[in-house]
Amino acid sequence: MSVEYLKEAVAANDRERLIRYVRLHFGDGNEEAGRKEIDKAWCEALKLLIDHAETDREAILSTIEKNDPATLAHLYFRLHFYFIERSGEWIHDGRL
């Protein structure tokens, strides 16, 4: 797996290869583990909202408005690990 692999997948609009890469990244080389990690992060995020907790929408909109798409993409990956940490189920060998 490499940037070259990803560029080829983007050029071919091969979403399966792209999501496979993301799963391998989140699963430390294990695609099935990565799929579960993605589900785990989304569940953790959802759990925080089901009780109508107060949220700062202005902060959300401002973050999106003030930052470039690449920074937001980076944040998106960072948020995945944030919610994984919150879940208390840490599968990775090291730490952020």
């Binding site: 940037v3 993301v22 690990f81 090291g94 730490r95 952020l96």
Partner: protein, 166 residues
Amino acid sequence: MTVGSEIRQQLRPGLWKTVNERYPGSMITKYDLVPLAHLDKPLSECRVAFVSTAGVQLKGTLPFDTVHPIGDYSFRRVPTSAETSDLEIHQLKYPTAGAEKDINVVFPIERLRELVAEGHIKELTENFYSFIGYNMDPERLERTLAEDIAEAVKAEEPDVVLLAPA
């Protein structure tokens, strides 16, 4: 084996081919000969540097970017005078439990200082160097990170540079 024949032999010649078969494009491919370096004076007269992929850094410095899907192409200088309690590891791709107990298992800063104190090594460079090994763009790794570290290490004028993965 004579010194001459050793120089003409590639170090672990099948390694790059093997890794690239399993992880296409993830490794820098080298077909040119990289000659083995020979030490031309005793270690006790040498200034030694250390370069590691362990993700070791001084506490309080910007953590290595362990979440970026393509990797982090920066490095950190680690003063060789640093206390191990001032160091930490930011890395997701190798087990760090042992290193968290004793960082010397991946970053032997105290062991090397001991070798200096015992006279086996003349001295250490002012800094050691550290980065993380999760880098999915081998061309960028070679073009930027490797060049940047090489330049920084060379400026410290070591006689010996130890390279260690984690």
